[in-house]
Symmetry: C2
Subunit: 386 residues, 2 copies
C-alpha cells in the first residue's frame, strides 16, 4: 500500500443554515478543500452522508455532488455508517489512494438536518438505532446514551460534575472556532440547570441538530511533496462495528467498536495511545466523550471523568480532546462530523488553528474517533506530521 497524506481541508460554518441547501453546503466545503490543497483535478470522491433520504428526500448523492461541484463524470460515491459516515468516507478515500487505483481523492461529508423540523430529525436520527427492536419500542438517542450514563455512574461513580466538565471544556474550545455552531462558553451552573432531556442528560449534555459540510483531500506523499503542502500522513486506520442495539452488547459502559477500531489503527501505525498528542472524539453526548476516552485506552475504565475534571483534556492539558469544540459546541451535521474532525486535526498539526486554540508544543501525532449510533460502528484514524 502507498503512503497517503492529507493535503487540503475545508468546511462550512456549522449551524442552522437556512440560506444554503444540501448541495450548496457540500460544494462550499469541497471548493474550500480544493483551494487549500491547490490540486487541479480529482480522481474520485467519497461522500459521507447519513440519511439525506429522510432529511431532504434526496439520494444518489455522488452523482448530485459531482454534478454541482462541476466535476462531470467523476467517480463519486456516497457512504453511510450513521454518524460515522464521514469517518467512513475518509477510510474509503485512504484505501483508494493507498491501493494505487486513484491518486487524488476527496473525502467529504454533509448533512442538511434542520429543514425537516425536530420531530422529523428525531425520526431520521433514530434510523441509526435498531428500528425494529429499539425505536419501535420508544428508544431515542438521548435515551440510549442516558442508559449508558446511568450504568457508568452506577459502576464507576461517575458524577454529574464530570459530565458538566466535558460540556464546559468543549464550549470553551468551540468559542475559539469560527466554524462552530455554538461558539460561546457555558458554565457548570448553566449545564446543570439546563432542561432535562433524558435523565441524567440535559440539553447542554447533547450535541445539536446541525447543517454543514466538510471535505479533505488525500493523495500520495509524492504528490503532496510536489504541492508544497505540509505532509500530514495517514498512518493508521481502523473500522469496526458492534451489535446495533444497545441491549445486545456485552457491556454498555464501554464502546467495543471503538476498542477494536483503535486496536487496528494503532497496529497499522505501530503506535500506542501514549504516542498520540491529542484527539478529536465523538462527543455526541457528554457521557460519550468519557466512555470513548476509556475505550481508546487513554484512561482505565472509570478514570476518565476525573481526568476531565482535573483539566487533563483541556487545551493546556496533557492530552487535549476536542480542541475544535467537539460535536457539542461545533455542531454535529452527522454525515460531515467525521470529516470535520479531520479538518481540525490537520489545522492543529499545521499550526493553523484559529483564535488562540492552537495547541502549544508543536503536536505531531493526532487521533480521530468517529462513531455511529450508540456505538454500533466506529472509525479511528491516526495522522502524523511527516
Amino acid at each position: 500500500m502507498r503512503d497517503v497524506a492529507v493535503v487540503g481541508v475545508g468546511m462550512t460554518k456549522f449551524g442552522e443554515i437556512w440560506e444554503k441547501s444540501f448541495r450548496d453546503l457540500y460544494v462550499e466545503a469541497a471548493l474550500a478543500a480544493i483551494d487549500d490543497a491547490g490540486v487541479d483535478r480529482l480522481d474520485s470522491m467519497h461522500i459521507g452522508c447519513m440519511t439525506s433520504g429522510l432529511f431532504v428526500g434526496q439520494e444518489h448523492v455522488g452523482s448530485l455532488m459531482a454534478d454541482y461541484l462541476g466535476q462531470k463524470n467523476l467517480a463519486a460515491s456516497r457512504v453511510e455508517s450513521a454518524c460515522a459516515s464521514g469517518g467512513l468516507a475518509f477510510r474509503q478515500a485512504f484505501i483508494e489512494v493507498a491501493s494505487g487505483m486513484s491518486d487524488i481523492v476527496m473525502a467529504g461529508g454533509v448533512e442538511k438536518m434542520t429543514d425537516i423540523g425536530s420531530d422529523g430529525a428525531t425520526y431520521a436520527l433514530a434510523a441509526a438505532a435498531d428500528q425494529e427492536y429499539e425505536v419501535f419500542h420508544g428508544a431515542t438517542f438521548p435515551g440510549l446514551y442516558a442508559l449508558m450514563a446511568v450504568a457508568h455512574m452506577e459502576k464507576y461513580g461517575t458524577t454529574r460534575e464530570m459530565l458538566s466538565a466535558v460540556s464546559v471544556k468543549n464550549h470553551h474550545n468551540g468559542a475559539m472556532n469560527p466554524f462552530a455552531q455554538y461558539p460561546f462558553e457555558v458554565t457548570k451552573e448553566q449545564v446543570e440547570s439546563s432542561v432535562m432531556v433524558a435523565s441524567p442528560l440535559r440539553i447542554l449534555d447533547c450535541s445539536p441538530i446541525t447543517d454543514g459540510g466538510a471535505a479533505v483531500i488525500l493523495t500520495t506523499v509524492d504528490i503532496a511533496k510536489k504541492l508544497g503542502k505540509p505532509i500530514i500522513k495517514v498512518i493508521g486506520s481502523g473500522h469496526a462495528t458492534d451489535m446495533i442495539a444497545l441491549h445486545s452488547r456485552d457491556d454498555i459502559t464501554t464502546i467495543k467498536a471503538t476498542m477494536v477500531a483503535a486496536e487496528q489503527a494503532f497496529k497499522m501505525a505501530g503506535k500506542t495511545i501514549k504516542d498520540i498528542d491529542f484527539a478529536e472524539v465523538h462527543d455526541c453526548f457528554t457521557i460519550a466523550e468519557i466512555i470513548v476516552m476509556e475505550s481508546l485506552g487513554l484512561y482505565e475504565p472509570g478514570k476518565a471523568g476525573e481526568a476531565v475534571l482535573k483539566g487533563e483534556t483541556g487545551l493546556e492539558g496533557s492530552f487535549p480532546i476536542n480542541t475544535s469544540g467537539g460535536l457539542k459546541s461545533k455542531g454535529h451535521p452527522v454525515g460531515a462530523t467525521g470529516v470535520a474532525q479531520m479538518v481540525e486535526v490537520v489545522k492543529q498539526l499545521r499550526g493553523e488553528a484559529e483564535n488562540g486554540r492552537q495547541l502549544k508544543n508543536n503536536p505531531k501525532t493526532a487521533l480521530t474517533q468517529n462513531m455511529g449510533g450508540s456505538g454500533g460502528s466506529t472509525l479511528v484514524h491516526i495522522l502524523e506530521v511527516a
Copy 2:
C-alpha cells in the same frame, strides 16, 4: 494492486416477500455466498443499499447487517449510488482486496421495497433523480425514461417492436431463473397491450418493485486457489457519474456515465467490447437496455434495437444480454441489482446457470453494467475465467 477473484455468490429469490424483513433478506443472501465460497471468515463487508431510510426507516446498515450475520465487530460499510449501489459495493470490495488492506471481502446488496406501498416507493425511488429540479416539478422515473425513449425513436427510428423485443427476450430468460420475481414468458402482444405508464413505456417495459438481497465474496487469486473454486478474476472496473438531472445532459439518447465507466474498465482489462462474450446490463426500462448497448460500444448509435429484434442478444445470439432475465423479469431490488448481476455472470462463467439458460460455447469473459437514476452514475465491471 493485487489480483482479485470472485469465489462465492448467493442471492434470495426476488419478489414481493412479505415474510422476510430487510435484515433477513441480506443475511440469507450473505450466508448463501459464504457457503458457496467455503470461506471461514470475512475481513470486511460493503453493502449496496439505495434508500433503506425511506423504504424501512433504517440506516446504519453496516452495523445492522454485521450484527445479524453474526459477524461481530466486522468492518462493515454501506454504500449508495441509487440503483447502482450494488455495483458500487462490488467496486469498493474489489479496491479493498486489491489494495492489500483486506483479504476476504463481501460485496452485498439489499433492498426491501414493497413494505411501503406504491406511492411511498415512487417517492423513495424519485430520490435518485434531482429532487429540487426534477421531482418537485413532477418527474418520475418512467417519465424520464419515456423522454429518452421518445428522443431515441425520433433520432434513430427506434420502434415499439424493438422495445417489446427486449421485454420478450428478458422474460424468456427469466422464466428459466429460479430466483426471478416474474419467471414467465411474455409475448409481443402482451407487452404492447399492457397498461401505459408513461408513453411510449407500458408496464411490461418497466422493471418491477422488488424485495431481495444478493452477495458475492471477493478474495485474492492466491486464496481463491486454496479454496479450490473456479478462478473468476475481476480484470476491469470503471465508475463514472454524469449530471444528475436528465435536462442537464448533452445528449439524452446515450448514457455518458456508461461510456466513461466502460472505457475505464476496458482500459484496465486491456480489452475491447469485441473480447466480451456476454453481459448483464441495467434494463430498468426496455429503452435503457437499447441505449446501454450503444453506450457500451456494442452497436453503433441507433443500431441496437434492430439487433435485439434479430435475436443477436438472445441466449443463442452472438452477444447474449441479461441471461438472468435482467431487471425486467428477475426483478429490481435497487440496492441488490448490481450484485445480482455478478451472481449471474459468475454462474454463467462457471457453467452453473440453472434450467437451460446456461450459455453454450464456454463463455470466458463477461461484462456487467449497473446504473443509477436516469444514468447519473454507472459501474462497469469485467470478469474473466482465469
